[in-house]
Symmetry: C2
Subunit: 234 residues, 2 copies
């Protein structure tokens, strides 16, 4: 793959662009302080994120009709609060906390990296997050997306890469999917996308990731968006 | 309507945000010079734009399946070139000229106005133009859209306002539709949107518009985006 074969970069968002775990810890600490709770928000964050795939699967496999991700986040939070025996959060507090996913911060390299990449490429989100979530996050953080695509626009989890390529009027091979999750890239590669894995070693707060096989068969593997911009020569 | 009742502004694009007629004249002059043609591009522009509604109606009323606007622009151009007896433009030139709709310039007040409005409101396009067209136009001109919605995302001409409100997770009454065409605003009002008419007296190159009735029943009527920002207090 050469840089001029690519016209658009499509980005997974949670974990790849923004630090969901750090955001939950940050807002969780504020909730603890306000309500006088002692909570291990790291465990809550991991459990909440862990509810993600099972809830998505119910929609993906047709056991329930389409709902936007906010609703799945809401149900996941209720399950996790019950699991950890965290009581005393009123409905308004829980609803506000669900929207922490709209308020996540990008990793430090993201904004400078995207500002380089946007000069040459169309930058689109291809996330399970809804349009409003992605717009709110972008306005708050200054993420310079050219288009917000993904699950809600395609009405499908995982957002269909080919729907996004069609909306961008591009053959899939002109699109580079960027994600910190190998499974996202395998799915995109099956649709003919080019693929870039980004190490986000702190996604789970551990300093390590272990989802990338020794011979991943991807077009690029980069440490962060600065290296991605370097590799694409922008 | 007060400014704080509104959370998102949804914009018609052709005529409201960008000067389609001026763009066709500009690129038409370049085609004339290159190919040694004498063409009244103003008449071509008006006739091409005039082909718009009949071609859209074929899709809207189910006489043909969904196609993206580029295809309708292509067919309209071929019809207009035949109508005016303009021969000698090869396929590559015609294809390049069809994409003039991706290269239209905003009216002079647009960028400064949007830069004020974006501080407080979500700015979304709600256009018949496709996603790629709208993205190309925005990147070229620096239009700071938060989301590209409209016909292709909704898979319907005229883009359904309620689809856009749903994607923005807003009741229609929290959305202000901004258009230089009264009929667009009547349609949006029927969906519960707030409405703002923008005089674009040069849309047809005549210095005047005549589609606004004496008692239009709209929330705002403004001269340009500077006045819109003034009226919304941003």
């Amino acid at each position: 793959m050469t840089p001029d074969e690519i016209e658009a970069l499509t980005f997974d968002v949670f974990g790849t662009v923004v630090d969901w775990r750090g955001g939950i810890l940050r807002d969780g600490a504020a909730v603890s302080a306000k309500h006088g709770l002692s909570v291990d928000w790291g465990r809550v964050a991991d459990a909440w994120r862990g509810r993600y795939q099972p809830l998505l699967s119910d929609v993906r496999e047709g056991r329930r009709p389409w709902v936007v991700l906010d609703q799945l986040h809401r149900e996941g939070l209720d399950q996790v609060l019950a699991q950890f025996g965290i009581a005393g959060l009123d409905a308004a507090t829980r609803e506000e906390f669900v929207r922490v996913w709209h308020r996540l911060d990008p990793w430090p390299d993201v904004i400078p990296g995207l500002d380089r990449l946007r000069r040459r490429y169309i930058l689109a989100t291809l996330s399970n997050g809804g349009v409003r979530l992605t717009v709110n996050m972008a306005k708050r953080a200054g993420l310079p997306w050219d288009a917000v695509l993904g699950a809600e626009v395609a009405q499908a989890y995982k957002p269909s890469p080919e729907t996004s390529a069609r909306l961008l009027d591009l053959p899939p091979a002109r699109c580079l999917m960027v994600a910190a999750h190998y499974s996202d890239l395998v799915a995109a590669r099956e649709q003919g996308f080019r693929t870039c894995y980004v190490w986000r070693r702190e996604e789970w707060g551990t300093g390590e990731k272990n989802d990338l096989p020794a011979d991943p068969g991807l077009d690029l593997v980069v440490e962060d968006f600065a290296e991605l911009a370097d590799r694409l020569g922008v």
